[in-house]
Symmetry: C2
Amino acid sequence: MKRIADSTVRRLSIYLRFLEEFEERGLATVSSEELARRGGTTSAQVRKDLSFFGSFGKRGLGYSVPELLTALREILGLGREWRVIIVGAGKIGAALAQYRGFRQRGFQIIAAYDTNPEKVGRPLEGVQVRDMAQLETDIARDRPDIAVLAIPSDNAQAVLDRVVKAGIKAVLNFAPAQLHAPADVTVKAVNMAMELEGLSFALTNRE
Amino acid sequence: MKRIADSTVRRLSIYLRFLEEFEERGLATVSSEELARRGGTTSAQVRKDLSFFGSFGKRGLGYSVPELLTALREILGLGREWRVIIVGAGKIGAALAQYRGFRQRGFQIIAAYDTNPEKVGRPLEGVQVRDMAQLETDIARDRPDIAVLAIPSDNAQAVLDRVVKAGIKAVLNFAPAQLHAPADVTVKAVNMAMELEGLSFALTNRE
DNA sequence: TCGCGCTTGTGAATTCGTTCACAAACTAGC
DNA sequence: GCTAGTTTGTGAACGAATTCACAAGCGCGA
Ligand SMILES: NC(=O)c1ccc[n+]([C@@H]2O[C@H](COP(=O)([O-])OP(=O)(O)OC[C@H]3O[C@@H](n4cnc5c(N)ncnc54)[C@H](O)[C@@H]3O)[C@@H](O)[C@H]2O)c1
Ligand SMILES: NC(=O)c1ccc[n+]([C@@H]2O[C@H](COP(=O)([O-])OP(=O)(O)OC[C@H]3O[C@@H](n4cnc5c(N)ncnc54)[C@H](O)[C@@H]3O)[C@@H](O)[C@H]2O)c1
């Protein structure tokens, strides 16, 4: 399949959110124009994004909301449950463990890991906190799909190496560190400090 | 000034982080090649990024670590303190309020706001939680530069409209909602659900 | 002081992503 | 069934971002 741009995938996520809203409101169809207006893009962009995956609309009519919803879920791989582990049972780890939005979309948090003996054993927002020493054997047994790193920067690369070696192919990193992984492993980062610096730049360099 | 691409600004943030590390380790100079290797990009990219803002290196030698550090801080607008308010004293709001990394880089959290009367008045991780009713008068008085939205999606657009009307020009949004603001207001989003969906897509569509 | 090796800074070439523009396909009304 | 009015799907045109490639500048050692 042709390589799909990152920006396209992110927009598909956005469209999906709108479609869920439209379905709730009982709308039967939606046009690329409407999706574009909401998503802050253009109708041509919406159609192009979808065209990479097939032909989902009806000319003269638009897209059937339930059909496009199903198609987008399929494309994004949300037709199944994903098993997620959280490494680092701190503030961010706790916020994520408690967050209902993830489970709603099929991301099931199966366990958290920490090095701190005080945290190990105690549940974190209903999620079991296990010792880092178990990480490899647990991964071999539970076969999680995704690892979320919510640990300090210093340890992030070392822990990434461990989960990759154990067979994990997708990682979401919250530490403000640039991590390196083999090409067959996808690493995404949520870097709040970087976003704030982007705001600082924008505030500073406005004409 | 020529418009600077978002991707360039994000990379400058990354370079800045490496330079801080190099300074700590006492390194005097660094080459574009070294910065590129760490940042997962190319040396030409590093030099091009910097060239938009001036000429900071010495041919044959590389960049002086302290000089480039100063230059990058200047470019990103980190030479001053930014005043930040957090709207929404929930899990995410609390994690941010407590996070030391922000203050370290000059982002000073001056207050948090919430609608929940149980939260108003009590400090949140050392930050005062105020009533949303005060928002506009407080903004007029305290003149914060940046508003962080850590509230449910449903209210995000309405609250954005309020802070924009009160004069805020930079917003960081954590709600999984597509927000619209006037052109002179910069809105950045941290959307964890979207990143997870990106991982789901990558896991699903690998050949 | 000269030459060599190294690294920057930057136009030019290329690649990648977005927008344009229009034929094709559909609905609805008559 | 025909026409008018929509909206899709997609090559082609465009624009933005990245990579190439090399002249110019600098340090060092002879
Ligand atoms: N809190 C925020 O608002 C915020 C914002 C931006 C970025 N971050 C980043 O997110 C990461 C986590 O932040 P936090 O606020 O949750 O920190 P935290 O200190 O609350 O939690 C970190 C947890 O990781 C555990 N840990 C440390 N080393 C570990 C290892 N090698 N293996 C397993 N567990 C380990 C610690 O015991 C602790 O429980 C950090 O990298 C931080 O820079 C946090
Ligand atoms: N917790 C997570 O891990 C996580 C992950 C991804 C996204 N998010 C998003 O971040 C946002 C905040 O999440 P959270 O987990 O902190 O939620 P939370 O429920 O813990 O906190 C939300 C807070 O906002 C307050 N609030 C509600 N409406 C308000 C309004 N109009 N004005 C001011 N305050 C208001 C509530 O009283 C509450 O204290 C949500 O949009 C959520 O979807 C959270």
